[in-house]
Subunit: 219 residues, 2 copies
């Protein structure tokens, strides 16, 4: 008996694609640029968002949609920056979908916003399959996860516009090879932008936020 | 509109439970003890399995079932130890299910085996929902993921018989608090066994493998 994928997946994805397209039109009409940020648990999504807010909140009106299975610990961290934030609790679901974002965007309010960051549920697999009406998909891989992850979780690396390699401050204490990671990822996705940062120390953050700023302005 | 969970989930889970129960009987009849090992990507599942094999392969006939979305890099590492290994590629699915394990166990062959380790797909969410006919569920959290993960991904911490805190060699370079992690996890799951190890240096591994050995013998 061959290994098989549950075929309900495709029906769910088709319905999501339609909702995501509607959502994208709505974001465009409101003049909002939307980034879908994805990674494994603990790769540093919230820390990276805090760095982006620090760099760009003086230039743009930013909103954040936080996705978690449970809890609002991340939303609380964002709230301290005075940026508007809405928390989605998926109650078990391992990714955000367009329908969740539709309702979160209404609660957040798009009027006057120029940049909305969506922090997806920590998961290197399913979030890559669900479009959220975003303009760009950005993913984070932390140094501690290892440089072999693109081969094992290929879809997110193939779908993303940018890869943030986070926790570069840990490189001396691991056998992580940036060269090997880059070679693998660029072979899978030649157009991907790769940023090497440490959200902890701030190293490399300005290249990332500069790239995002150009994307927002150039929309 | 409230946030909702896709309700196909429950139907899939019910079907899986029936298959998992049959599978468990099959394992029992063959005298095989089965461990389902789960974690985020890069937390160290394969490295921990290699340490377990190192400690227990002289005492038991071990088999390994490797689950990955794609690739067989992990199975190749296991094969070098001369332990029987079967690779499942889920082709996109973010967790193993009982049906996949049924077919992998046939390919692996249960005759004469005493201990089968299942390495689940790297994902801190969905694998916790799918029973695989296992005797024990064990999860790994790596120090680099942060001590706040139990609140955000509660199900796996609640379902697991043991939590392996891996990469303790990185603690000096992070703000990870073992005390905070343990307090949170023990409040959620008072019966859980917690092992602090570094698969890299070997620290703490013997406590873990001793516990597993007792489980196999005491079955």
């Amino acid at each position: 008996m061959p290994i098989k994928t549950l075929n309900v997946n495709q029906h769910i994805l088709n319905a999501n694609d339609v909702l995501a397209e509607n959502l994208r039109s709505r974001f465009d009409q409101s003049g909002v640029f939307v980034m879908n940020l994805m990674s494994s648990p603990g790769a540093g999504k919230t820390s990276v968002i805090l760095r982006i807010i620090e760099a760009l909140a003086g230039k743009f009106n930013i909103g954040v949609i936080e996705g978690d299975i449970a809890s609002d610990v991340d939303a609380q961290k964002i709230q301290k920056t005075n940026v508007d934030v809405v928390q989605i609790n998926t109650d078990g679901a391992c990714h955000l979908d367009a329908n969740m974002i539709r309702s979160a965007a209404e609660t957040l309010g798009l009027d006057g916003k120029q940049f909305v960051i969506i922090e997806n549920v920590g998961n290197l697999v399913c979030p890559a399959e669900f479009k959220l009406g975003e303009n760009i998909k950005v993913m984070i891989l932390s140094v501690a996860e290892g440089h072999d992850k693109p081969l094992k979780y290929p879809l997110m690396f193939t779908e993303s516009d940018a890869l943030i390699v986070n926790k570069t401050d840990l490189i001396p204490y691991t056998d992580f090879s940036l060269e090997e990671l880059k070679a693998t990822v660029q072979a899978m996705n030649p157009k991907i932008n790769i940023f090497e940062i440490s959200a902890k120390t701030g190293d490399g953050v300005s290249q990332l936020t500069g790239w995002i700023e150009n994307k927002i302005v150039g929309k």
